[in-house]
């Protein structure tokens, strides 16, 4: 039995133009479309492909969040995950706490691979996978754009600032995904029906016995500084003149 644990975070859909609330206490989320974090969808797709090639026997999707997160887990099940675990949490769970939650589930499930998105497109933190690997005392292969399994090892190509880097890690390990790893499949209607029968277990975060009180306090949300209005030029001649005026050519 070799399992893959996949993290699915519920986030504001990437197409939504997020706005700060006028009173600066947060961003507007009422009535806003929520989706699986795009990087996590890529993580799930990779897990499913590994399983389809015989590299794993079970894919478990895990989410930490409010009860509504069931929707994203059902989508994950419809994509092909075998079962789902919702760790229900109604307040902020910082990456370190999320990593501790995952570690608890790892102790129970003993997966060979944990696949997470490299970052959530809400907090843009890019931390949970690395923290989990540290707490678990196992390898991390972050920003993966290619994963090749070979027995008890994985060869992972990573998107780094300088180009592409390949590392080899012993399993079990934590992998985090980058955009070019794969293109997630679309969910088909019959799969949505089938997903309704797949097991979805809910666990209260408090029952796991991990410290989840936030360490950081967000005191203010502000919209980003607006750029001053620019000029439209008619043709290349005017463009070059405008660049010259700014001393840029």
């Amino acid at each position: 039995m070799s399992k893959i644990l996949v993290g699915l975070k519920r986030v504001v859909d990437y197409n939504v133009r997020v706005r700060v609330k006028p009173d600066g206490t947060g961003v507007v989320t009422d009535g806003v479309k929520m989706s699986i974090n795009p990087f996590d969808e890529i993580a799930l797709e990779e897990a499913l492909r590994i399983k389809e090639k015989g590299g794993a026997t079970e894919v478990i999707v895990v989410s930490i969040g409010p009860a509504d997160t069931q929707q994203q887990l059902r989508t994950g099940l419809a994509m092909g995950a075998d079962r789902a675990i919702l760790v229900q949490a109604d307040s902020v769970v910082e990456p370190l706490a999320a990593a501790k939650v995952f570690l608890k589930l790892i102790e129970k499930e003993s997966p060979q691979i944990v696949l997470l998105g490299k970052q959530g497109i809400d907090d843009d933190n890019n931390q949970t996978g690395q923290m989990l690997a540290a707490l678990w005392d196992r390898p991390q292969a972050t920003f993966a754009s290619k994963v090749e399994l070979d027995g008890g090892k994985a060869k992972v190509t990573r998107e780094v600032d300088a180009g592409l880097e390949t590392i080899e890690v012993d399993l079990p390990a934590v992998l985090t995904t980058d955009l070019r790893l794969n293109e997630p499949r679309y969910v088909k209607l019959p799969d949505i029906m089938k997903a309704k029968k797949k097991p979805l277990e809910t666990v209260a975060i408090a029952s796991l016995g991990v410290e989840t009180a936030p360490q950081f306090k967000t005191t203010k949300y502000e919209p980003p500084a607006a750029r001053s209005k620019g000029v439209m030029v008619k043709d290349v001649g005017e463009l070059v003149a405008a660049l010259k005026q700014k001393g840029l050519v």
Binding site: V18, L96, I121, D124, D161, E168, K217, R227, G230, V231
Partner: protein
């Protein structure tokens, strides 16, 4: 008083400019004592460079054959060990720092703050969330070590002119062998580096093929600029992955940014909002890129670019 350790980023015996940007960030915390640590097989050349950065008091070298490549799993226990004497540990928000710093934080049993844009005190910072659609002010607890990454595009590199002392540090940490470096492929372009170049020309999906993308390189060469790309252009294979600009690519702050055939999706814009001057060339007058452009030209890039090159002489 804040005592800040900065983890140096380096490759091929050379210090990356991101380190001087971290120093610039740390220098805005009043009264901070700033040290830089170089983890390498032989850190001397890099340490000598770091010692010249203004504001740095001490440079520590941690030499170990295992540090030949920057593997987070190998570096993190060493950084955590050195961190014992500091109140803050900073690294750059480059792929190097993003990979390493959360692992360091977890080993120290603390959270991590990502992408500091501004320090409003030793424990109060501003950072972007939601692809830069919101800027938050965050307070960190004063009784815990603060591990953070610095958003390099928000800071000008601290200038040279310092003369820090260089000391060898002895670190006893058991290092794992479960993670091994295999290879790195970097396209040697001979062009300026995207992250530090004062000028950047970027191409989008509109280029249509990697062959067509050559006109972006050609304009960049004319301007002495680095080349960037949108995600769509990278996904389609017109440009290499390390050229992607945006929320999940590189965040840059050049003097001049020229966006060619790029619509201006929020994920792209977050990567360029600190650019001094943004020029947009797009055939759709309604493209969102024009909302942030300082100079906009509506037109077909395949006629505009050749004309522009000619006009530039």
């Amino acid at each position: 008083m804040a005592k800040i350790l900065i983890v140096a980023e380096h490759a091929g015996g050379k210090l990356n400019q991101s380190t001087a940007k971290c120093v610039a960030c740390a220098s805005t915390i009043s009264g901070a004592e700033i040290h830089v640590a170089v983890f390498a097989t032989d850190g001397a050349p890099v340490a000598a460079e770091a010692a010249k950065i203004q504001g740095v008091k001490t440079v520590l070298t941690v030499n170990n054959a295992a540090n030949a490549e920057p593997l987070a799993a190998v570096l993190a226990p060493q950084v955590a060990a050195v961190a014992a004497n500091y109140t803050h540990v900073f690294g750059p928000s480059t792929t190097f720092g993003k990979d390493l710093m959360p692992r360091v934080a977890a080993l120290l049993g603390v959270g991590q703050l990502s992408d500091i844009m501004a320090a409003e005190g030793a424990y109060k910072f501003r950072r972007p969330v939601y692809a830069g659609n919101a800027i938050i002010t965050v307070e960190a607890p004063q009784d815990k070590k603060l591990v953070a990454t610095v958003r390099t595009a928000s800071f000008q590199a601290a200038p040279e002119g310092g003369s820090a002392s260089v000391e060898a540090a002895n670190v006893s940490a058991s290092l794992p062998s479960h993670t091994r470096f295999v290879t790195r492929s970097a396209a040697a372009t001979g062009r300026p580096d995207l992250q530090t170049a004062p000028r950047v020309v970027s191409g989008g999906r509109a280029l249509g093929s990697s062959d067509n993308f050559k006109i972006i390189f050609s304009l960049a060469d004319k301007l002495g600029a680095a080349v960037g790309a949108s995600r769509a252009a990278v996904d389609a294979g017109y440009a290499a992955n390390d050229l992607q600009v945006g929320q999940t690519g590189k965040i840059i702050a050049p003097e001049l940014y020229v966006a060619v055939g790029i619509s201006g999706a929020i994920q792209h814009l977050t990567g360029i909002k600190d650019a001094r001057t943004i020029v947009a060339i797009n055939k759709d007058a309604e493209a969102p890129i024009f909302e942030v452009a300082d100079i906009g030209l509506v037109g077909d890039l395949f006629t505009v670019l050749p004309e522009l090159e000619k006009a530039l002489g």
